[in-house]
């Protein structure tokens, strides 16, 4: 086991050595991120947003192809928290003792002794400087010092210069300032104070070190108080249980009170909401301070703020209680690790709260979802549809050639109207349409006229593509928009492409053969194809780990695949060879998807970030950092201006491709999110998670608008019908379910009040919305697709039990 530990450490070194030039930058980036997080007092979300904004701000002008390469050096976000919590080699014990002594001296007004000791321990000078300077024994100073104690590891003695004494006025700020050195946090600090008005008074008598034996008492005291409060407040205040529980437990573990921690856990873990079970399981295995270093879940808790939304009344009640009881231990945690988003008005009901909570870091702050999102569709380029002979013939056969024209006009006029919610046409530079794209669009339009109008009375037929003999190794599936090709990513590192039409897959001939071709001939494009090797299946070899994501380009010339080996590969479907391997994630890449307009693609992986790439750049154009756990799935908005990511931290985020900002954070899922899809009109988002629920979101208002319950296992795939009338969901429970999307979005509560407060009341109407449940025979539904005529194609690997 020693070897195990050692090798772990070695790996850490190896990893950082891999990219030596970025090492320095990364540290800085980390520091920046931390300082942001600390000073703005806005928790995990704000912090990381800042980070990515900073990261991408270099290319504000929106010329996407000009990559913000600087960004990539800013870090795999995964690495970010690590240095923060790593204690220096010197025994933390000593430092703690020193600080404790210093604190005592200061409290006893023994200035000289204090100074002497400080001089002795030069090491700690900077750390204490901020708080020590004012020298008053008023609460702020003491609190600052004790805050230091609690974060002693964070205040790594480094380049951080002594802070200007002026900042000492706000203790909290100093603490974070000492860690960053570059922050200019004064003004932001005041924000924090504004948010929680009477902070200093409450803090005046707090004693951080706290008796470990008292933790249980504190917690049960609060529990008693909350349980005895009025019903309307109880639900809101109950939100405090979980973050407090976790932080108190971690504090105990961190301060190496192992037995107390264990008994604390055993006593109170039963009170927590059931949807935190997974996190609690991780927590319960964590009993040693050393273990906290590598445990990412717990690092998130310590470095990010848990967001709670509480009405002002409830908050006042809590504050009064804590003041009365002099319960500083808890207040300190509330102050340090929680972000309480206070709103005026009625307290929320239990149902309202339950709908929104569940994510790793609490709810999204209200401001987080306030920015404007251009969710409308881009104007379609006008393509004159040539009424070619073939087309006319077809019409004549049907006997109504005149009907077609007005129809086409209506389609044209629809696209001519500019959607008021659409982004400017050139907000993101998009590739120009090639002739072949135009042809495809024309084909699409023709098919559109033959599309089945779906509805509760007209359900689509479902075709199931069963992967046989896949030996449980099918990990990803994609189908081209015209439903002519199907690709499967497998656990054996292969990507296989099948033609599902009688047309076989042909690759271009070898160079030697190509040189023999008469280049002047009319059918040269036909001649370059190798008829001999044509087959209905082509296997693409190149990855060195399971392929978790696959995506066809809209023009069907390329295929993307993402793999456990940390790369995303671009394959040509002309030669069936790999063109590019995009490296950057360094950890398994869980998903990738092409933009609906091609050229760009997005990937997300175990390193907790999503990256935006362009096919002709080997480095990412944007890094979307902010998720606290793996990014499981990534999807482009139909207008290509936004990217949605679903994560194991149980949140969904919407990112602006233009500037890399996080513009929406959706919380409410109780399990890792594994599927995402946008409605065709771009207004709504549907997400599916391991808890078997599908949630519907209104992007414009940033609200949850529906909950579809029915699946009993992870929802692996989601897809709206071409006109958005039906939502199909496929799950590990071997069923496909169809939901009435029109009804689900019919009467939305998007009045000003709901929008402003974010309080939603979800109707319990899953059963009414469920149009059908379709069983497969022990075949998990990995992928769903609507053909252009609205036939459902489902795919999965037959896996006999």
């Amino acid at each position: 086991m020693r070897r195990l530990r050692r090798s772990r450490r070695r790996c850490g070194q190896a990893r950082s050595l891999k990219e030596p030039p970025t090492l320095l930058l990364r540290k800085q980036g980390t520091a920046l991120a931390r300082s942001d997080g600390g000073t703005t007092n806005n928790g995990p979300n704000g912090g990381s947003e800042k980070r990515c904004e900073r990261a991408s701000s270099v290319s504000r002008d929106g010329e996407t192809p000009k990559p913000v390469i600087a960004v990539s050096t800013v870090v795999p976000a995964r690495a970010a928290p690590v240095p923060a919590a790593v204690p220096e080699v010197s025994a933390p014990h000593d430092r703690q003792t020193l600080l404790a002594v210093l604190q005592f001296l200061r409290q006893s007004n023994l200035r000289e002794a204090e100074e002497a000791l400080r001089r002795e321990a030069r090491l700690l000078e900077e750390a204490v400087a901020g708080s020590g300077a004012p020298g008053e024994a008023d609460g702020t100073g003491a609190e600052a010092a004790s805050a230091l104690l609690s974060r002693v590891t964070a205040s790594a003695p480094g380049p951080a210069a002594p802070d200007p004494p002026s900042t000492g006025a706000s203790g909290v700020v100093t603490v974070s300032g000492s860690a960053s050195g570059t922050a200019a946090p004064g003004k932001v600090g005041s924000v924090a104070v504004e948010d929680q008005p009477d902070v200093s008074a409450v803090l005046s008598a707090y004693n951080q070190q706290g008796d470990p034996a008292m933790y249980e008492e504190y917690y049960s005291g609060l529990k008693h108080f909350i349980e005895c409060s009025l019903d309307c407040h109880r639900a809101e205040l109950s939100q405090l249980f979980y973050p407090l529980f976790v932080h108190m437990y971690l504090e105990l573990v961190y301060n190496q009170h192992e037995n107390e921690a264990k008994s604390f856990f055993e006593k109170f873990h039963g009170d927590q909401e059931c949807y935190y079970q997974d996190d609690l399981r991780v927590l319960s295995s964590l009993t040693k301070k050393e273990h906290m270093k590598g445990n990412e879940t717990m690092l998130d808790f310590r470095t990010s703020k848990f967001v709670l939304r509480i009405s002002r009344d409830s908050y006042q009640l809590l504050k009064r209680h804590l003041q009365e009881k002099q319960n500083n231990q808890i207040w300190n945690i509330v102050q340090e690790h929680l972000y309480i988003d206070i709103f005026d008005g009625m307290p929320r009901s239990k149902q309202q709260i339950d709908a929104m909570v569940g994510s790793l870091a609490g709810e999204a702050k209200r401001e987080a979802n306030k920015s404007k999102v251009f969710f409308g569709l881009l104007k379609e380029p006008e393509i004159e549809v040539p009424l070619d002979d073939e087309d006319e013939e077809g019409e004549n056969e049907e006997g109504k050639p005149k009907k077609k024209k007005p129809k086409k006009d209506s389609i044209g006029s629809k696209s001519k109207k500019q959607d008021p919610n659409a982004p400017p046409q050139n907000r993101i530079p998009l590739p120009e349409l090639k002739d072949s794209d135009k042809l495809d669009k024309i084909m699409n339009m023709k098919e559109t006229t033959k599309r089945v109008r779906l509805g509760p009375d007209c359900l689509p037929s479902i075709c199931f593509y069963t992967f046989l003999n896949a030996y449980q190794g099918l990990t990803a599936v994609d189908v081209t928009d015209d439903s002519s090709l199907i690709a499967g990513g497998f656990a054996d590192s292969t990507v296989r492409v099948w033609s599902v039409t009688p047309k076989k897959l042909r690759s271009v001939k070898q160079a030697a053969d190509l040189s023999l071709i008469d280049k002047e001939s009319d059918d040269v494009l036909e001649r370059i194809m190798d008829e001999k090797t044509a087959s209905e299946l082509k296997i693409l070899y190149g990855h060195s780990g399971p392929v978790y994501g696959a995506s066809f380009s809209p023009d069907r010339n390329y295929l993307l695949s993402s793999s456990e080996d940390g790369t995303v590969r671009l394959w040509s479907l002309q030669t069936f060879t790999c063109l590019v391997g995009y490296k950057g994630h360094n950890y398994p890449v869980w998903d990738t998807q092409f933009s609906p307009y091609g050229y760009y693609f997005v990937s997300g992986g175990h390193d907790r970030v999503a990256r935006l790439w362009a096919t002709d750049h080997y480095q990412p154009l944007r890094i979307f950092a902010g998720h606290l756990a793996d990014v499981n799935c990534t999807r482009f908005h139909p207008n290509s201006n936004y990217v949605a990511t679903g994560s194991a931290d149980r949140t969904v985020r919407l990112w602006d491709v233009l500037n890399g900002n996080c513009v929406r954070i959706f919380t409410g899922h109780k399990g890792p999110i594994h599927s995402l899809t946008f409605s065709p009109n771009g207004r709504f988002l549907a997400t599916g998670a391991t808890d078997g629920r599908v949630l519907l979101w209104d992007i414009g208002h940033g609200l949850m608008v529906g909950e579809l319950k029915g699946h009993t296992d992870t929802v692996c795939s989601l897809r709206f019908s071409r006109d958005g009338e039906i939502l199909a969901s496929g799950s590990m429970d071997n069923t496909v379910r169809l939901w009435d999307a029109i009804k689900a979005f019919e009467d939305l509560e998007t009045d000003d009040f709901t929008t402003a407060t974010g309080h939603i009341n979800l109707p319990e109407n899953s059963q009414e919305l469920l149009l059908g449940t379709y069983m497969t025979k022990s075949t998990p539904v990995v992928h769903l697709h609507f053909t252009r005529r609205n036939l459902v194609l489902a795919a999965g690997a037959y896996s006999p039990q």
Partner: protein, 556 residues
């Protein structure tokens, strides 16, 4: 976690740690061992936690060794090799108890290397499409039914399939016989069933080749008779193929020299066999078959050979089918048939010949219907003993039939081709027949005495010519049971046939001249009919009927 849940975690005792340390020559203090043990447990839990992410993304519910190894690899720990097997490793207890270890048998590499039965490679990954739900409604064939067969198709089975199909469709009759026999008895060909069903469905593509059609039908027959096969959803497909042979105007029937009639008869018999043995597998199958037969019968555009098929099909399905479908339809159909039969033009000769076939088939079908009806009526009345209670308004030949039927049931079991039910069982099974016996006698309006004659033909005993004294048919109404067959027999053998013609004249107003001659012909051909199956009997007999009856006029 409650205490019990706590124990779900791996706990490695410090003793184990110390033992492991000792095995590498290290001496650990208790304290160090305890710390290490705890750390190891934590690391294991952490790795397990991380490995679950790999499981989720591989869309599995089962955590595999591979997932765990991946998690280890990403934590820069060497993977644990040798546990990649799909099956769980059996843990064996040591003799001392309390100690369990995975069984790790020695593998004899030499043996393995020299082994001749090298395991075959895995089947190729493939994609198959299946329409699971049409317009939101379920498809009847369950998804995966074909895949499971495909996936389990071994090379041996494939070889068997090729051999059998080659033998059945090949030139060697001996081989064919063996192959069919094996198809009928082999218990291991369940996986090939869809393939053979598919082969049988090939009838649609070889409708020009009677020989092939016959053979494919034989394959179908063998499959149906194989007691080890569960036809399940394939019944429908088989029935479809067989019905095709029964009903379709096969390309082979264009040539009048081709005996497609036999094929139809055989197919009809097979149809009834499938229905009687496997009808319960598919709900509504009977109705469906009846419906398709009826549709063909009611469609005047269809060629006569299709109609013939429909009639023999109905006949094969039993007299109730005849009663339900053919009987109500007969009056309309008759007009059409009569028109064909009345056309003496040369160009119509072939069609007319076909028309006679149909006529004969109808006759046979109706005959049995009548018989069964009479039987049923008889048994309702209290048995065959009550002969005298005739209804006054009965037709003249009514009593004859009534009295004839019990004796018929008793003496000629072969005629009903096994479908004859004992008189006792008919009553309860059909307590309220939709068509009364009296109604059915209207059939005589169509067939007249040719129907009556038919009754006679089956009678083995009285085939000998009778003295002409019995000629008086109307008088015979009051005679004994035996009279009727005797009469008909005599009518047939009579070279002049004058007397018989009298009888005929009651219902048809046929010119007298021609029939005489034809009856003679009929006579000469007559001995042949006692074939093994009624179907083949028609084939032999029907041309004669055609000749003898073309002079019939309908009273309608």
């Amino acid at each position: 976690m409650s205490e019990r849940e706590e124990r779900r975690f791996v706990e490695i005792p410090r003793e184990s740690i110390r033992l492991m340390a000792e095995s590498t020559g290290l001496e650990l203090s208790d304290e160090v061992a305890a710390l290490l043990a705890e750390d190891v447990c934590y690391r294991l839990r952490e790795a397990t936690q991380n490995s679950s992410q790999f499981m989720k993304h591989t869309k599995r519910r089962k955590l595999t060794v591979e997932d765990f190894n991946r998690a280890l690899r990403w934590s820069s720990v060497e993977a644990v090799c040798g546990y990649g097997s799909q099956e769980a490793l059996p843990l064996r207890p040591a003799r001392e108890g309390e100690l369990y270890f995975p069984e790790d048998r020695e593998v004899n590499l030499v043996e393995l290397a020299l082994a001749t039965n090298i395991p075959k490679g895995c089947a190729e990954t493939a994609v198959r499409v299946h329409v699971s739900y049409l317009d939101g409604k379920g498809n009847l064939a369950p998804q995966g039914s074909v895949p499971s067969a495909v996936s389990s198709l071994t090379d041996d089975l494939l070889k068997y399939y090729q051999q059998v199909t080659r033998a059945v469709l090949g030139d060697d009759p001996q081989l064919m016989k063996i192959a069919l026999q094996d198809l009928q008895t082999n218990s291991k060909i369940a996986a090939l069933l869809p393939y053979f069903v598919y082969v049988v469905s090939g009838v649609k593509s070889v409708s020009h080749d009677l020989e092939q059609l016959h053979r494919l039908l034989q394959v179908a027959r063998s499959l149906v008779r194989n007691p080890h096969l569960c036809l399940g959803p394939y019944v429908r497909s088989l029935v479809g193929s067989v019905l095709y042979c029964v009903l379709e105007p096969l390309a082979a029937s264009i040539n009048p020299l081709n005996d497609h009639w036999t094929l139809r008869d055989g197919a009809a018999l097979l149809l009834s066999h499938i229905f009687w043995t496997h009808g319960d597998l598919v709900s509504g199958l009977y109705q469906q078959i009846l419906l398709s037969l009826q549709k063909v019968l009611a469609d005047p555009v269809r060629p006569l050979c299709s109609h013939y098929g429909a009639v023999v099909g109905l006949h094969a399905l039993g007299w109730k089918a005849v009663e339900r479908v053919l009987y109500p339809h007969l009056s309309t159909y008759w007009t059409n048939l009569q028109a064909v039969l009345d056309d003496y033009s040369v160009s119509n000769a072939q069609v007319k010949a076909d028309g006679h076939k149909v006529y004969g088939a109808i006759l046979v079908a109706v005959e049995r219907l009548l018989k069964m009806k009479a039987q049923a009526a008889e048994s309702r009345r209290g048995g065959p003993g009550v002969r005298g209670c005739r209804r006054p308004d009965d037709l003249p030949w009514d009593s004859l039939l009534l009295q004839e039927s019990p004796s018929g049931a008793g003496t000629e079991p072969g005629f009903g081709s096994g479908l004859l039910l004992p008189p006792g069982s008919v009553g309860p099974e059909d307590p309220s027949p939709s068509v009364t016996l009296a109604d059915i006698y209207r059939l005589y309006a169509f067939f007249g005495d040719s129907l009556a004659t038919r009754f006679g033909t089956g009678q083995p005993a009285p085939t000998a010519p009778r003295p002409p004294g019995d000629k008086k048919e109307p008088a015979a109404a009051t005679d004994s049971v035996r009279k009727m067959p005797q009469l008909t027999a005599s009518a047939m053998v009579s070279p002049q046939g004058d007397d018989t013609r009298d009888v005929f004249q009651r219902s048809r107003f046929a010119p007298r001249g021609a029939p005489h001659f034809r009856f003679i012909k009929f006579q000469t051909a007559f001995p042949a009919p006692h074939g093994p199956s009624p179907a083949s009997r028609y084939v032999e007999k029907l041309p004669m009927w055609a000749l003898s009856d073309n002079s019939l006029y309908l009273p309608l």
